[in-house]
Amino acid sequence: MASQTTTTPFGQVSARRKAVNGAMTVLIYGAFALALIPLLWLSATVVSRGVDRFMVDGNGDEKFNLDFLNQSMRGIFGGMPEGGIAHAIAGTLSITLAATLISVPIGLLAAVYLVEYGKGTLKRAVTFLVDVMTGIPSIVAGLFAYAVFAVVVGPGTKLGIVGAVALSLLMIPVVVRATEEMLKLVPNELREASYALGVPKWLTILKVVIRTAAAGITTGVTLAIARVIGETAPLLIAVGVADSYNLNLFDGRMMTLPVYIVSEWRKGDQPCNNPEIACVPEITEYRAWAAALVLILIVMALNLVARLVSKYFSPKTGR
């Protein structure tokens, strides 16, 4: 037996432990590979099916065109090979812009409070509730905005601004969290240097702290926009659907890109009975995929902008 111990080098791993280690390594690599499948599959599908609509022209023939981006759905019915998302893009942009205008001042100031002024119970309460607010289901945000306007304006109010309120409820916590993180990164020495020069606190915050963190805050806000721009459920409830252009947030329903995808998808295949009229049965599905492609491109562009801003505009630290 003595020879056994000498031939087994100290620290050698038994076959079983080796096997377990190897198996877990495979499993962990496998988990990552598995997660990439839906990402790649979904992206490939959206791109390949998204171009279908762009390949159908007004006569139902196969020819590349960008009508989809310029047309609205006004006067479009059945399997007409026309119809686009111009009104939906306009609606999405104006509602998201309004939501941003509501959320950013509140979110920014609340973050300033948390980092620069806050203490005691209020600070803890706000920090905790911002975390909790991140978890509000988007449909509840839609119901909330609907309920507010039902009480204040009257039942059944469906306007662009209602959707903007719903989206800002989802956006505020994201903006607060991101801004707070960025403000915390500003070194205290900068604040002290500013105080030492006799600059009052509010000016220090505005001109030193926020300016230093500006790139990070911009990144955070851009990511928050990217998050809410694809929200569907609250807009389905608070804004409804529309077929034509409407840029007035305070008058009438609006179409938005995510809601457009759902409503086109719900229409299903269209019957084509008259061979005289240009008609494409699957046009609704083409439109849904093409709108999904545009939406994903917008979201990805926002993500890219956010990363570029944080890469090129943040102050260079030693790290």
Partner: protein, 334 residues
Amino acid sequence: MTTTHDRAVGPDEASALTARKESSADKVFAGLSGTAATAILVTLAAVATFLLIEAWPAVTDSAGTLAARVEWISPERGESLIEIIGFLVFGTVLISTIALLIATPLSVGIALFISHYAPRKLAAGLGYLIDLLAAIPSVVYGLWGAIVLIPALQPFYQFLADTLGWIPLFAPGEDGTVSGTGRVALSAGIVLAIMVLPIITAVSREVFLQTPRLHEEAALAMGATRWEMIRIAVFPFGRSGVIGATMLGLGRALGETMAVYMILSPGLSYTLNVLQSGQHNTIASFIALQFPEANSSGVSALIAMGLALFIITLLVNMLARWVVSRRAEFSGAN
């Protein structure tokens, strides 16, 4: 405001030194930021208040006017408002549970891959790939799930029912086949799993990365393999973080609307057969389905459901945050 031991600064002098400009501008700015912070508290209270106001007519309905005015509420069929909410809560929990059962082990694996297995230089980029999954809008998941994924999964469901049909969960319908469309609870659960995966991964990854270096090195020095090191050093440290992450994922899964709405063929029952269509629905998806055509009583009833969903997710999220923050206090890493 005493600064040194030698000399106490007099009150006049102190105010002269610190904030000569403790002026109105300063007060206004402090007031503004305080107001914004308070506004967040007020907003959260307002959410509950306004939902309650609008839900009140449905909640307090006792004379049966609700059943008369809303077609999908019929107490005689066992579908009064509270009974429907019961079905929906069951469906919501069932589908979220499926999603978490799939997503949690996968996410922990991915988080470990990024924190401990992947080459250092690649780790950040690979983590970003997973984050991209979170950037895809839920409606696109719904579209993809409904048109592409489900038809691909349907044969697998039939196989599952043929081989494991004796388990009640995978039991096929009476004719021995599963739903031909695949618009079943399991499909919704799978798509939700993909959607909560990046959340659970992101939080777990952060926790795993905070494992004290010394613990890991000590484990390795004792001759542990990489997996054993993870089991004895990383997991005990990260357990509550992973639990919290899972609950955050649960919060997301409970409230997810569009993917379920587009994928699931809805129904109301307490059955566990996740391979049969027309059996389940979730609160959020039910609201989205009924809201566009609802009359005032219907809206009130749907908002009552929204209130129920709000309270459930609020509790889950509070619990999750509490679990995660408790970890932060007791860990030696920060």
